[in-house]
Structure formats: structure tokens, C-alpha cells
Amino acid sequence: MKLVSNFWRKLCKPSNAAVGVVIGMGFVGGILFWGAFNTGMEATNSEAFCASCHEPIVNEIKETIHYSNRSGVRAICSDCHVPHNWADKIVRKVQASKEVFAFVMGNISTEEKFYARRKHLALREWQRMKENDSQECRNCHDFDFMDFSEQGQRSVKQHSTALASGEKTCVDCHKGIAHQLPDMSDVPGWQ
């Protein structure tokens, strides 16, 4: 308490330093804070960070097209799971504090527990992507630039109808695109 009141007194006391110096310090301090904040945001977007809790998933993804493909473009966890837009990103990060709690509770601490809980988590993720119209996929796959003449027949048939009309979104059809599917019984549209 003494520390705080001491600080407050100093904060309120006009400085003898030139105004320029004080403003400059505020400016530099602001940049440092901004930099540190951004570094933190970046670090918690890295695959290594996610891997520290989602080990089984990271192993699975190495088999998929988003890990290794002829074009050499990679999608990492945060590309698909963390929104890019600043406000949504902060909201998602704050929500992710729940994951830390679930981690401490040991919700998915072993592979067995993870596989048992997987369907529940997948349903949540599908729901999230349904609500934002698969925004994360669209950051890389832009419908407007899909060349139907380059796509397979099956793709064109679906993309030019259900997708174009907005009736369905990417994850309605493309489930399990980056991970193994959970038990799909009683998911609509799957046997």
C-alpha cells in the first residue's frame, strides 16, 4: 500500500524534466509495451505452443494436405483456429484461458481421455466455424478465385451450388480436413 501511494505521489508531481523528455518516454514506453504484447500474441499462435498440450493432434496433421503438399504452403494450427481480425482474436485468446483451466483439470491429459472427449470438442469447433462462415478457411481459400475449370467434377458440383448459394459453408462438407474424425454417428449428413 505504501508503495502504491508513493507511486501515486510521484505520478502526480509535475516533472522537472522537459516536456519533450516526458512525452518521449511515454512514446518509447508505448512502443515497448506494444512490441511485448505483439510478441506474446505471436508466441501463443505458434505451433510449438499448441503442441505443448495437443501432442496427438500435431502428430496426425503431418499426414494431411495442410502440412505438406506440392505447393509448399503450410497451414498451422492458428491459421485455422485463431481469427485474424484483431478484436475476434482477442476474444478467442481470452476464451482460450478456459483451455488452460481444462488442462489443469486434466480433461485431455492422456490420449485415451482426448479420444473420448474428441467428439465434443470437434462439435464445438464445427459450431464456431459455422457461425463465422468458415472465415479461417476463407483467409486462404477465396471462393471468388476458385477456378471451376481446374477443379474435379465432384468439387464443381458441390461448390457451384451449395457453397455458391451460401446454403452450406466449408466445414459443413469438409470435416476432418486436418484431423482424424471422431466417431461420426449421429452427425447430420454422415453415416
Binding site: 510521484k10 522537472n16 524534466a17 514506453g29 508505448g30 509495451f33 504484447f37 478484436a87 478456459k98 464445438r124
Partner: protein, 45 residues
């Protein structure tokens, strides 16, 4: 996610933003006052 959960997380998420700005301000002010007190600036006069 249930609607209630959704609302709670949405409120927490959005209230985090001004909090971040506020913490930034406090952090920078602590830092600045500390630097200034290294000089004779903040001595009791």
C-alpha cells in the same frame, strides 16, 4: 457452447480489450516514473 457460456465469454473477451490498454498505460507510467526517480526529478522538494 450453451448460450449462457457464449454470453459470458463474449463479455469477458470484449472487456479484456480496454483492460489491456489500461494495463499498458499503468505499466508505462510505472516504468516512466521509475526512470524519472533515478534522476533528482522526483525528490521531495
Amino acid at each position: 457452447m450453451s448460450t449462457l457460456e457464449y454470453i459470458i465469454w463474449q463479455i469477458l473477451g470484449y472487456s479484456a480489450m480496454p483492460l489491456i490498454l489500461l494495463i499498458g498505460f499503468v505499466g508505462v507510467s510505472v516504468f516512466t516514473v521509475w526512470i524519472l526517480s533515478l534522476t533528482s526529478d522526483k525528490e521531495r522538494s
